[in-house]
């Protein structure tokens, strides 16, 4: 597609200021193409179209913060010593000088106090990790709530879920490395989690720690996972995520000229490359500002790990907070049977819930497509309101997550709000079950009212803000029809599929399991789409417009004739 550049800023020009550079560049390109055949790959991709919307930036934040993590992380490896050998600290930080600690902790202090820019890099690394995980989560919400996970993008959804899991493990192994009091307490809890595993728990713990907790192996082992194994997996999965993005082409919002068959936006070169490349610098820059101005994980204030000590308000990094919250509110359930112990109080919140939550996330696209029977490709995004049950499911999950997360700070809430920690805990035990249900119902009805609002705008126009008083003294607001583009955008969505009726299923001759499965599916699909507002038909719109015109005409004649005019009425 050729572009009209007749009026593009003349300084952009069409000829380079010097042709010599172009000749050299041409020679290099020729050299490379004769060996690598880049031309064929580039001809398709260099002007690849990327649609523009602010919400498409969230994944980019995750990508760029990962790059920042790689850069700052490499810097930290140059000084960090992942060893648990006990040494006496003799660095610049006065309050800890002479204290015995592991080399890991001492080298963390050295990075913080004896390497210029070291503390900046440490803090940037930690902030970037938080931004990485937070942006992955928000990106995931965006993808889910707009229906971008639907066919053909289910595989990328799963890759994304795995990235979130790996990012979380990467975060945990990372913040455990300094071997300070807080991180050591976290590792100790992790040891307790492992020991709660049925049958093999103590063996897992002894193998991971190289003997009894804490041993001297855990930091070097976490280090190998943190800088080699997990980043390698993350890189590979991110590459796959990006490749699939390029292959599928990005989703886009519906609008005039934007259909399931095309993708409308700016070409990769120059606009998208400039915006995305510039955005990398912005993410990097914001991380640098945070690293310089906001202190994080001040390990020197906590001191080295000592199994006999703990600080009040001990909490993991925020993304580990929700299972920790469940761990706090679960009743003391342990089964003691035939000389063995089953620790439900640790297994359920830590060993069962997080994997279960991940599996639910990964299954969501498949559950929905099974339920709706929709096996078509989708490239146009849906507004959350137009899939009320889907939106409500995610809001219910978010509510569960949020309440569990808040339970992970029950001690802080108790102190800051002067509440009883026991009452908060009892409350949370109920809230994690009831809260999601309430959130589901509210969200679903909220979405449906927004759909009705959209329908109202389509059929009756938007509120103009002009109030008219009729000769009888009544008031009415003048509604005006939506501009064509807006009206089209509101209607550019699918009608929900109509679930099979029991009669249809029976008539189809299905039997046994197939029959039961299809009936269940039909019942669930009916619930899934119940009360949704479908877009109006052309006849409805036509009729409504006719009616609205009539009303408008009447109002206008009232304006002309009625008490809205100055002076006495004519009749």
């Amino acid at each position: 597609m050729s572009v009209d550049v007749s009026k593009v800023a003349t300084t952009n020009g069409s000829t380079p200021a010097t042709t010599k550079g172009a000749q050299r560049a041409g020679a290099i390109a020729n050299w490379a193409d004769e060996r690598l055949g880049l031309g064929s790959a580039m001809k398709k991709n260099i002007r690849k179209v990327f649609p523009d919307h602010w919400s498409f930036m969230l994944g980019e934040i995750a990508l760029w913060s990962f790059v920042v993590l790689l850069l700052t992380g490499v810097f930290l490896t140059l000084w960090f010593d992942p060893s648990m050998t006990e040494i006496q600290y003799n660095g610049s930080y006065d309050p800890l000088r002479g204290v015995h600690m592991s080399s890991a902790m001492a080298s963390t202090l050295d990075i913080s106090f004896d390497v210029r820019g070291g503390l900046l890099m440490r803090q940037m690394h930690h902030w970037a990790a938080m931004i990485f995980i937070a942006s992955m989560m928000i990106h995931m919400l965006r993808v889910y709530l707009t229906g971008a996970f639907r066919k053909p993008r289910e595989v990328n959804w799963i890759i994304g879920c795995l990235l979130l899991l790996l990012g979380t493990i990467e975060g945990f192994t990372g913040y455990s490395l300094p071997d300070d009091l807080l991180s050591g307490t976290g590792v100790r809890a992790a040891d307790g989690f492992m020991k709660a595993t049925p049958v093999v728990g103590t063996y897992m713990s002894f193998f991971l720690f190289g003997g009894e907790f804490p041993g001297d192996a855990i930091i070097p082992r976490f280090y190998a996972m943190h800088i080699l194994l997990i980043p390698g997996l993350l890189l590979a999965l991110i590459a796959a995520h990006m490749l699939l993005l390029v292959y599928h082409k990005h989703t886009q919002w519906p609008g005039p000229g934007r259909t399931e068959q095309n993708v409308v936006g700016y070409p990769m070169l120059p606009v998208y490359a400039a915006k995305a490349g510039g955005f990398f610098f912005i993410v990097f820059g914001v991380t640098a500002l945070m690293g310089g101005l906001f202190s994080i994980n001040n390990v020197w204030k906590l001191g080295p790990y000592d199994p006999s000590k703990v600080t009040a308000g001990s909490q993991p990094d925020w993304y580990m907070g929700w299972p920790d919250g469940l761990l706090r509110i679960i009743p003391p359930w342990e089964t003691h049977l035939w000389g063995i112990t089953i620790s439900w109080n640790v297994m359920l919140p830590i060993l069962v819930m997080p994997p279960l939550m991940l599996m639910i996330l990964m299954a969501l696209p498949f559950i929905e497509s099974w339920l709706t029977g929709d096996k078509r490709e989708h490239h146009l995004l849906q507004r959350p309101r137009n899939a009320p049950t889907r939106t409500a499911i995610m809001v219910a999950l978010m509510t569960f997550y949020g309440l569990s997360w808040a339970a992970g700070g029950n001690d802080i809430i108790a102190i800051k709000l002067h509440l009883s920690i026991n009452q908060i805990t009892y409350f949370m035990r109920g809230a994690v079950f009831i809260g999601p249900v309430i959130a589901f119902i509210i969200t679903r009805r909220w979405c449906i009212s927004l759909q009705r609002h959209d329908e109202g705008k389509l059929l009756h126009g938007f509120e103009s803000g002009v109030l008219v008083r009729s000769p009888e003294g009544g008031y009415a607001e003048k509604h005006l029809p939506l501009p064509e583009g807006q009206a089209y955008t509101l209607t550019a969505r699918d009608d929900d599929p109509v679930p099979e009726t029991p009669e249809q299923i029976e008539a189809s001759g299905a039997t046994g399991r197939d029959l039961r499965a299809r009936k269940l599916r039909a019942r669930l699909a009916t619930l899934f789409f119940a009360d949704n507002v479908q877009k109006p038909t052309a006849e409805e719109i036509h009729e409504a417009q006719h009616h609205a015109e009539h009303e408008l005409h009447e109002l206008e004649s009232q304006i002309a004739a009625g008490p809205n005019r100055h002076g006495p009425a004519d009749h």
């Binding site: 593009v8 120059p270 706090r328 620790s343």
Partner: protein, 366 residues
């Protein structure tokens, strides 16, 4: 006005969402002020260059800051940030931000802003491609003869499968087997002549019963960690890693309460714990039975002890019973008495494993 669901292609691929309103098509492109007004265009160009210039200035400032500000023990200047860290972060952040903002400003104001449209293709391969691919795969498999030679196939599968074993077996030396290590602590290492003294954690001084007032809580360790020779223990057994391992099991809490408040429970062998205390002083493991945090918050008036990690609360007057929170077992109690010099000592080791629950461990009613 057909239903959208009837318009999908036979492959289940693309669809045309047909709506009640016809697609008006892409709106016309609007020229920006910088496209039509040379003055505005020049101004935008200057703005971008200035942003890049500011970035360069910030980078120079970064270098100056790097060599100007000392680090080390002046980390606390300027609001607790450290002059060096703060200056480096600020200048580096600005240097990067100015480039980012400059490039995006350039893209928005000066680069061609025509949206272009590209056709999508279904994710699936064409039927022809599928056919060729399946044929190629079939040819390859046929030529290998793997289907016709089950002996080769099965022996190969068996051999490769077996190769998984070295990968698993080689992890065996990651650590020793647990054995009975979790069942013992260093408290049991005292002898008849020198029973294990209970000493204050950190200052390692022994404790007389009369040192404690009612309501006092003391964090303690076994004397052997500081004084191994007295108990015939090799000093290397309580250094470095070993010290951490011992501490993570042996850390102890002493609490003195009114002797009348104590409800003595039962020991593992069914005997009473009545003689496990000294003048209302009770000794309990400091390691939470939930996931192993050191318990440290003492409610002085209730002799309840709260774990700061997950708020399990134990009643030290009642055999360490769980009164609140997620812990599933009482705190292990250490039987104590006094030695010849009147110092508090352990009678023997804990009669159950300390710390978090695990599969193989038993349970007994107090």
């Amino acid at each position: 006005m057909s239903d959208a669901h009837d318009t999908h292609s036979p492959q289940g691929g693309e669809i045309v969402p047909t709506g009640p309103i016809a697609d008006p098509g892409l709106p016309d492109h609007q020229w920006r002020p910088t496209d039509v007004d040379p003055a505005k265009e020049k101004r935008a160009e200057r703005q971008v260059a200035i942003l890049f210039g500011l970035s360069a200035v910030s980078t120079v400032a970064f270098l100056v800051a790097y060599f100007t500000f000392d680090i080390g023990d002046n980390w606390d200047v300027i609001g607790g940030f450290g002059a060096s860290t703060m200056a480096l972060g600020l200048t580096l952040g600005l240097a990067l931000l100015f480039i980012g903002v400059g490039v995006i400003h350039w893209a928005r104001k000066l680069m061609a802003d025509h949206e272009i449209s590209e056709l999508r293709h279904p994710a699936r391969s064409s039927d022809d491609d599928r056919e060729v691919a399946v044929q190629a795969l079939t040819d390859g498999i046929n030529e290998s003869g793997i289907g016709r030679r089950p002996l080769i196939r099965n022996s190969l599968l068996g051999a490769v499968g077996l190769l998984g074993l070295p990968a698993i077996v080689m992890l065996r030396d990651l650590g020793p087997l647990p054995g009975k290590k979790l069942y013992h602590t260093i408290w049991g290492s005292g002898t008849k002549q020198a029973p294990m003294r209970i000493v204050r954690d950190g200052i390692w001084t022994p404790i007389l019963a009369s040192d404690l007032e009612i309501g006092d809580l003391v964090n303690c360790q076994p004397d052997a960690l500081h004084n191994p020779e007295r108990y015939g223990i090799d000093p290397s057994e309580v250094e470095g890693v070993n010290l951490q391992i011992h501490k993570s099991k042996a850390s102890l809490i002493l609490l003195r309460m009114n002797p009348g408040d104590i409800k003595p429970g039962k020991a593992a062998d069914g005997s009473s714990r009545a003689n496990w205390t000294v003048d209302g002083i009770v000794a309990y493991s400091k390691i939470c039975t939930h996931v192993g945090c050191p318990i440290s918050l003492n409610e002085r008036t209730t002799h309840h002890l709260l774990c700061p990690c997950h708020q399990s609360t134990f009643d030290l007057a009642d055999s360490g019973r769980v009164v609140f929170g997620p812990a599933g077992r009482p705190l292990p109690q250490l039987a104590i008495s006094v030695d010849d010099e009147g110092y508090l000592v352990a009678q023997h080791d804990f009669d159950e494993p300390v710390g978090p629950s695990f599969w193989e461990r038993d349970y007994y009613e107090r």
